[in-house]
């Protein structure tokens, strides 16, 4: 029973460490496009996908996004490995409605799939620092973006903290204990973890005050690549509307 908490935590920790280290596994053309443009076009594609149930529009949008991803250097296998599970889950949720309206479960799943693909196109081609800078450029309040960036950077550190706490407690444990013991010790461990996090935050605040820490918005002008991507996105949007 104790192993469950420890194992899930270790798995989660190693997953996130790998995830963050693989921020930029390969660089394609899509990676070079200004994140502000990618963020806004993602928003447009998602809004487009969730505002219609027309099969031809949805199919056009899905194929357009897949084509853009393939041409601009995203690994399609990785893209689908990240979206299939939740799309399948959505399909299962609405499957009981198949008899009432045979088209609905497929169209509903297609909308979810397109939205997931759109967001993955952004996530797989931009680092979180770039997304934060894009948010700052789009006038999202500094305090929020700074908190976002700080939280992202400290996720691995706090994971290490919680693993160390659990490891220390586990090494002191002499008996297997009941569910009740586990919950009691677990509550204490998480309490200690939050206390340490608060103390760490206090130290970080002092460090930030002494050296300064700001997220700056992107100020560079759009190049030819960005203009082509904007034109492509607007073309897809307009085509979808008139289709």
């Amino acid at each position: 029973m104790h192993v469950v908490i420890e194992r899930t935590l270790k798995n989660a920790s190693s997953y996130f460490q790998n995830f963050f280290l693989q921020d930029y596994p390969t660089k394609g053309t899509l990676h070079s496009i200004d994140p502000r443009v990618k963020l806004l076009s993602t928003l447009l594609f998602v809004i487009l996908a969730v505002s219609t149930f027309e099969p031809k529009k949805l199919i056009f949008l899905l194929f357009s996004l897949i084509a853009i991803s393939a041409i601009l250097g995203l690994n399609l296998r990785r893209l689908f490995s990240r979206v299939w599970l939740f799309s399948l889950f959505s399909f299962v949720v609405v499957l009981p409605l198949l008899l009432q309206d045979p088209k609905y479960p497929f169209l509903f799943t297609l909308r979810v799939l397109i939205a997931l693909v759109s967001v993955q196109m952004l996530i797989m081609s931009s680092s979180f620092a770039e997304i934060c800078s894009a948010l700052r450029s789009l006038k999202v309040p500094e305090v929020f973006v700074q908190g976002l960036w700080l939280a992202y950077r400290y996720i691995i550190v706090v994971f290490q903290d919680i693993i160390n706490i659990l490891l220390a407690r586990e090494s002191r444990r002499v008996s297997k204990g009941s569910h009740m013991d586990l919950w009691k010790r677990g509550g204490e461990s998480v309490g200690l973890f939050f206390l340490r996090s608060i103390e760490r935050a206090e130290r970080v605040q002092l460090a930030m005050a002494s050296r300064g820490d700001k997220i700056f918005g992107i100020r560079s002008k759009f190049g030819i690549l960005e203009i082509i991507y904007i034109a492509l996105s607007l073309f897809i949007v307009l085509w979808c509307i008139v289709l």
Binding site: T8, V46, A115, V119, F144, L150, I155, I162
Partner: protein, 297 residues
Amino acid sequence: MHIPDGYLDLNIAGLFLVLTLLVLGYSIYRLRGEKLTSLFGVLSAAIFAAQMLNWPIPGGTSAHFVGGALAGILLGPYAGCLAMAIVLTIQTLVFNDGGITAWGANVWNMAIVDVFIGYYVYRALSGFNRNLAAFIAGWLGITVAAIFAGIEIGLSSSFAYGLAVTVPVMGTWHAALGIIEGTITAGVVSYIATRRAELLEKKEVGKASFVLLAALIALSPVFAYLAESVGYSEPLENAAKILGLEENPIYEGLLPDYSIPGLDPYAGTLISGAVGVLIVLALAYAVRYARSNRKNA
């Protein structure tokens, strides 16, 4: 509880985005000048990590912690809701957990409703018993947040299941899972109380926060109005209709079936909702008054 893209109608998503931005904007305004960025930044990371802990439940299953009420208790409602909003934004933008168009609704449920309800319930009850207060705060926060999620999805025509399905499903499951949330919240609060009790002291929130919470609660009748307009009826009523059963009330109450006899049903539902809210607020105020009198004595 994270609502993905495609589940909500754009008008519902837009409404909750506006409400969320208002509350987050007000929270940032209230925290202006306070050097708290690192506190809610690092604590957001800690909440994120704590959410990854799967707690074993007898019977071979497990559940995880959400942390909205705990964020409110540790940081106060304003910094708490910002911390939770940060967690949810990272989950959306990095892990695609929760939709971009549903971001407003997700933040509303898990970073505003959960945090504010958790905080105020804890404040109201901690004078009686700190651990019980933390448990109820954790349980109620997550349950009400889930009910809100059920209402948002159920009102959306894109999602073919109506309120009669979504609200009971979300509410019932999370009322059960909320026991775990409440237990963990109580465990953490109990530990912190023994080590650094000053962290649990009352955060300065002022009267404006009461107005904010009142606005939050006052929205419930609006949802009732919307529910009326989409023809919502209780699941039990539907079952009775299918079975051909007829209602035979012994006492109809002052506001029968959330309506006022002789008044338009929509207006009646709105007024009934407002009356209900006022009764709950009056009772809460009476309990608070009685407690302060007892302390003074």
